[in-house]
């Protein structure tokens, strides 16, 4: 039976790349590129879900990657998937980009643009906007960015119980909003 890559394999693989970045040797450039290519789309999607603006997302990702690699140069030991490490850099960069580039009411919202495949997209995003930011954040991490409860806890720096509680409340509240819509 062929070996199926597991999350643990991914973490070990990413740790090797991070170690190569910290070692600053002939493998460093390749490691940076490999890590970037592996998580480029994830970071852009995350930034877009926070800024809802293509240009701001690109700005945010530039900043986030620069900060993350700068940190990686000092040596990083992953406690979970690389996305839990990258999350805080993208989040903070996205919030900065959003503040410095206010979205006008006329600006299209690329995230919430309905499509035939996702007819409820607008209502879901509108409902998420009505949740507490901390509740919307855990829902996005769980459903859009595929993090487990434990990984969300690591990414946010919160206890696992807090994350579980927020998820439970967020799902209940979202259900109420969607039912009343």
């Amino acid at each position: 039976m062929p070996h199926q890559p597991s999350i643990r394999d991914d973490v070990a693989d990413d740790q090797q790349l991070l170690d190569a970045i910290a070692a600053t040797d002939e493998h460093t450039d390749d490691a940076i590129e490999a890590l970037y290519q592996r998580y480029r789309q994830w970071a852009l999607d995350l930034a877009l879900s926070m800024t809802r603006d293509d240009a701001a997302s690109l700005d945010a990702c530039q900043d986030a990657w620069m900060e993350a690699i700068k940190r990686a140069r000092r040596g990083v030991t992953l406690r979970a998937r690389f996305t839990t490490f990258l999350y805080k850099y993208v989040k903070h960069a996205a919030l900065r980009a959003k503040r410095s580039r206010p979205i006008t009411s006329e600006a299209p919202d690329p995230v919430a643009t309905p499509s035939p495949a996702n007819p409820d997209l607008t209502s879901i995003h509108a409902a998420l906007d009505r949740l507490k930011p901390a509740h919307a954040e855990v829902l996005r991490l769980r459903y859009w960015h595929d993090l487990t409860d434990r990984e969300i806890a690591i990414a946010l720096g919160k206890p696992l119980g807090t994350v579980k509680g927020r998820l439970r409340k967020a799902i209940a509240r979202l259900e109420e909003i969607l039912k009343s819509a």
């Binding site: 600053t24 990657w65 690699i69 140069r73």
Partner: protein
């Protein structure tokens, strides 16, 4: 009929959230964006091969802690308490913060240790000397 539980009770929300997932369209990425960013990222990586950086890369959190201690507090000076047993303190997971760096006081204790902290026999004093040589700044008097 399945037993109702939190998951299947909330399945409409599960479905709605999963179907609302959206993605950045690669077509919206400006030409050359990745190439320029990778070049900037690579330019950030230091080409210096000074022992301090090699040790930090090799030793992970312990060497990083020693470097942080030496840079921030100053080498082997201003001890505010007797150093605890280095191995006990530095290797205690409770003392390692989210970034994997040993708590600053424990790093200080580590920096005071005469014992090698890396497998190649490197001691904190070796790192201190290399830092002084590198920066020209002792960071304080012992």
């Amino acid at each position: 009929m399945p037993t109702p539980n939190r998951d299947n009770l909330s399945s409409p929300v599960d479905h709605a959230m999963r179907s609302s997932r959206s993605s950045f369209d690669p077509a919206d990425i400006p030409p050359g964006y990745d190439t320029q960013l990778i070049a900037r990222l690579q330019a950030q990586a230091p080409r210096r091969q000074h022992p301090v950086f090699r040790w930090a890369a090799m030793g992970g959190t312990l060497a990083t802690a020693a470097v942080v201690s030496l840079v921030v507090i100053g080498p082997l000076g201003s001890a505010r308490r007797a150093p605890p047993t280095v191995a006990d303190r530095a290797l205690n997971p409770r003392d390692i913060n989210r970034d994997g760096v040993v708590d600053i006081l424990d790093a200080h204790a580590l920096a005071l240790s005469p014992e090698p902290i890396l497998a190649d026999g490197t001691t904190p004093a070796d790192i201190r000397d290399a830092l002084v040589e590198l920066t020209g700044d002792s960071g304080g008097e012992a």
